[in-house]
Symmetry: none
Subunit: 189 residues, 4 copies
């Protein structure tokens, strides 16, 4: 028992410390201590700190992608899908603030542009696919699909940053529907 439990302990401690202190300020020793393992043990599961960071990021990113894509195919139109996605994002973000902070920290990491494959690509592709279809159908504005996708992502990010600070506001169905309306208005043709 616990063979891969160690790995999980390390990941969880790393998520918390990276989110709270940042990737540089959290030391391998800090994480080891928080995870209840020895420093050397870290290197049995992750070949380097850089690797740990990447794996932590990918893990958070994957959680996010999956949470965001949940139930999208139940929706008909592109706008419905994007609004559903907003709900998903918000749920994920409010229930997993550490993981969503990791994503943001990693995204603004210097040199992140030099790490192709790491960053947001799949997420953007998923959104872009929906957006492209919507543009094709004349449902969405006629702008480059990646621009629209990025715009959508920007709005969603703005909103979850806002509601992270005031989570109870998002409980109001009225507020939620008006937020969806912002999405609809901004993107629809």
């Amino acid at each position: 028992m616990g063979e891969q439990g160690k790995r999980k302990q390390i990941m969880e401690a790393a998520i918390r410390l990276f989110a709270e202190e940042g990737f540089e300020a959290a030391s391998m020793q800090d994480i080891a201590t928080a995870a209840g393992v020895a420093k050397g043990t870290m290197y049995l599961y992750f070949p380097s700190k850089e690797d740990l960071i990447t794996q932590v990021y990918r893990y958070c990113y994957r959680m996010d992608v999956e949470a965001c894509n949940a139930g999208l195919d139940e929706e008909g139109t592109a706008l419905d899908k994007l609004c559903r996605r907003l709900d998903n994002i918000m749920d994920f973000t409010l229930s997993h603030p550490l993981e969503s902070r990791i994503e943001r920290l990693y995204g603004s990491r210097p040199g992140s542009m030099r790490r192709p494959g790491d960053c947001l690509e799949e997420l953007y592709e998923d959104i872009e696919a929906v957006v492209e279809e919507g543009i094709g159908r004349g449902e969405l504005k006629n702008l480059p699909a990646d621009l629209l996708a990025q715009t959508y992502y920007g709005i969603a990010t703005a909103m979850y940053l806002f509601f992270q600070a005031e989570p109870e506001l998002w409980q109001s169905e009225d507020v939620r529907s008006r937020c969806r309306q912002v999405i609809r208005d901004s993107l629809s043709a």
Copy 2:
């Protein structure tokens, strides 16, 4: 001559290295070398690295704020002001990619929420003031002013990140007007 030239050299080297490598990865020695001064000279102009970071940030931030607010009062409605602001942001960002990167890096620094007075406050206040007025006049959607302001900011950020990658697209008046339309649609009542 050159007395305060040294200070400028250091600031410029710091802006470039911080933007390219990040605040932690760029060492004082790196910056000194890039600025063509000795390590010790850095400390004649900036008492500590943290202080250098703060001053670099404030300098970039101030440039940004001033560029963004230029000519806003020539515009009548809140939406006009916000669209003009989008143009300003885009101009600033395309002509000063390093400075605008510094701003983003600083904003996502760990512990940045604990540094009051440093971060974006004035910028948000400027936007919020416009937004609030627009809401009051029934011109903008009836949502919390800070949420609308943050949404606007999110869209603008999304757009400038997009156009930084494809700057020539922003040259098209057609694209520009459709971008403005996204702003209008998303915020107007």
Copy 3:
């Protein structure tokens, strides 16, 4: 094996270098090299240079106190105790010149008066207790006990500094008895 051997190596190297070069002039690197360990290893055993200094001092001080107090209760009168103590001091000092130099260096460190608990207190108290008793019995001169104690300490220090330079002289029982006589004459009523 050798686990706490490292700590000892470091302490010994530190004692030698501090005694020879002084606390400021001996760098952590110097001491590490002399101890045959890496710089980083120093910080496994001592959290800072200041801490190393304090621990080195306390170690020397404790050796001294214990050596000086040995067998004092075998002596009857205050003067006998103080003469026995002189023998002890001299033995300690001649056999541990580095340790006794550390004590003097530390005592004359700037700011040492601001470090209560560090400096000589117990040593003085021990002497003072003997002196006070001797004054009470009319055996010693009627002067403030702390003045007499300090005077005794001054004589003893003067003597060990002298005999450190000419150790073979102290081998002469004749010289020793005349030194004791100096103590007796100076303090007795």
Copy 4:
């Protein structure tokens, strides 16, 4: 005016800062600032910090020697001279605590044994001359003259350290005469 005034300002500031902070902790900049001159000016009057330290020490030392020797030839016996000297030391020390602190600091500087000519030699020689004569006359104990001189010096130092802490005690003629008696008893044959 003030040509050599600068030199004096620097010396006085150095005496104060060295006495208060120690030779290493007081920086050339600190002293320059305290003296009201520019850093570069320091080097017009003193070729190096080490040299400044030495000159400061010699200045204090000379003051001390002169103050201590004052009026000695008015006294007849060796013991009278040594008691008079004690008065002189005490007066000097109580009126010039900084200068006397400098002497002590310098004396316990590491490497001071490697600086022949700097340290106490003349002072000891003066005392030794008196002591030798006293031994020759049978007035003082038959011990090596340098040992007796050092003992005398140790007692005097102990006393002035004591009375620096409680200066008003030294005002009592009774206390003073008993202190002189300690000197007499300890040294006389």
